[in-house]
Amino acid sequence: MRWNRAKIWVLISLVIAFPACYQVSGYRTVGPIGPVSPIRFVNPGDIVLPEGYLIEAVARGLTCPTGVAFDDSGEIYITEAGYSIGEMSAAPRLLHVSGTGEVTEVASGAENGPWTGVIFHNGFFYVAEGGQLGGGRILRIDRNGVVTPLIDELPSRGDYHTNGPVAGPDGYIYFTIGTYTNSGIVGEDNYKSGWLGKFPELHDIPCQDVVLAGENYTTENFLAPGARGEVETGAFSPFGVRTTKRQAVDGRIPCSGSVLRIGPDGGKAELVAWGFRNPFGMAFSPHGQLFVTENQFEMRGSRPVFGAGDLLWEIEPGRWYGWPDFHGTNPVDVGERYRPPGKGTPRSLLAEYPSRLPPRPAAIFAVHSSTAGFDFSRNPDFGHVGQAFVAAFGNTPTAGKVLAPVGYKIFRVNVQTGVTHDFAVNRGKTNGPASWLSTGGLERPLAARFDPSGAALYVVDFGVLKYGRLGAVPQHGSGVLWRITRKPVLQ
């Protein structure tokens, strides 16, 4: 009898302990649940910062904001994406933000978003247009809102887009292009996300000539519904096109997974570096070194890759950074480390690698944290001079499962040592987006940029992405622009 009672007690304990504490039953995807108010609850008090720092909401009611810039008078401008995951399509916009948080439109674009970021440089705004319908563009916009494309037809109508830009110390405008696919093979995930059905001819483009290993992945023929039979798809090839061992693929520019640059008046794109998956955030350090954040492999598609944390790279011109066969310095086809549970280890897609293998990343972030825009501190009054402040958008259900929410915060990164620290997080017993925690804190930080004085860090919060059976649904008017400053030190 005594044993039975004990056994029952032990069983009850285990039943309680494992799901509640290890969250085994909750090996879950994270996204806002339940109804979301049209007007998002915003409360800076729900955000925690290190001692001595303050946060406030500068503007709210924004729809999918992506970037922030400051003109030569210090006036604030933001971009709204227009296009978002969830296949939301609207006109992307450049908005002025007044001192009281009111916004007025400076310029708008056609439905070829998302506008992923903005800078102000030598009297003009420069905007990266993602190019979901017509291909990516870099736009120059004058103060009157007149839009001039500097380069167009960039290959970014797939999973990822044209991102950036930033102005280099050399006067060039730097931008990035993400890949069409998760890991080099066009497949079911691209059909589900919408672009493969619209553009079946599209595929990743290498920046330099590559020799393929001839690995092909077999899937159902999604482009011929009702038709029997399967198709094989190889790397850097359209859906349903098989590749052969040692097949050569010509590189060309512009290309997928790259960092490129153009002059301030436009012209032909020049290659800066390549071999990235989704290089999103860019910033030059106080010493003039370019750094880039890269969203790494996800657990989806024909060639899912497990456990690849997002990366921060210091960019060396001309170098290859590993996609689609490396995560940092690690080849994904060696050992079990990148093998998804229940599936095979990803096979190498390239037969030969460029002479120099990828270097060690400057920092490694949480798997699926979607690290995005960032900037370097330059002002001792703010502190941590030379360190990067990185926005982390947070995990999404399509990327892969996690035990606990990751991202939804601002990181501080020592780029010399690779040590990262949380800088701005939501208050509470667990991490997560504000709408999931039922608080008024950070939702999905997408960009972080210092004002010209370097005394204030502005954080662009994309707003609520609600997930339902049909995927992501961005919530109009739920974006926020936050400002972080340091309290004056009393003498």
Binding site: A6, P341, S369, A404, N431
Partner: protein, 114 residues
């Protein structure tokens, strides 16, 4: 078969100890972590390189939290070298014995940080 109630009770306590606890100990929540040894400082850098992506800041992410687990050093090293569950194996070539000692030293600081 006679039940060993002591062992069962201990097992339950361990389950709760390992499974529960406030794992949020990052700088905004708990203040700056003061690392007072060179070994632990090196361990922090190595943790960021090898461990942080799955256990971000010692908290749960892709993998469970580490910063609230009273696991002894030898158990941590066993897990690193042998990899249980989804955790990959880290060989001597990837993380040397000295480096693993440093990582464990850092984890002790992280665990004791209130």
């Amino acid at each position: 078969m006679k039940p060993n109630l002591t062992l069962l009770t201990l097992a339950c306590i361990l389950v709760f100890q390992f499974g529960c606890g406030a794992a949020r100990k990052s700088e905004p929540i708990s203040g700056s972590l003061k690392i007072e040894s060179q070994e632990a400082s090196l361990g922090e850098e190595l943790f960021m390189r090898h461990c942080n992506q799955c256990h971000p800041g010692g908290e749960a992410g892709l993998a469970p939290s580490l910063n609230d687990k009273p696991a002894p050093g030898f158990a941590i090293k066993f897990q690193v070298r042998n990899g249980i569950g989804a955790m990959p194996v880290f060989s001597e070539n990837q993380v040397s014995g000295g480096e693993l000692d440093a990582i464990v030293s850092y984890l002790v600081f992280l665990r004791d940080h209130k």
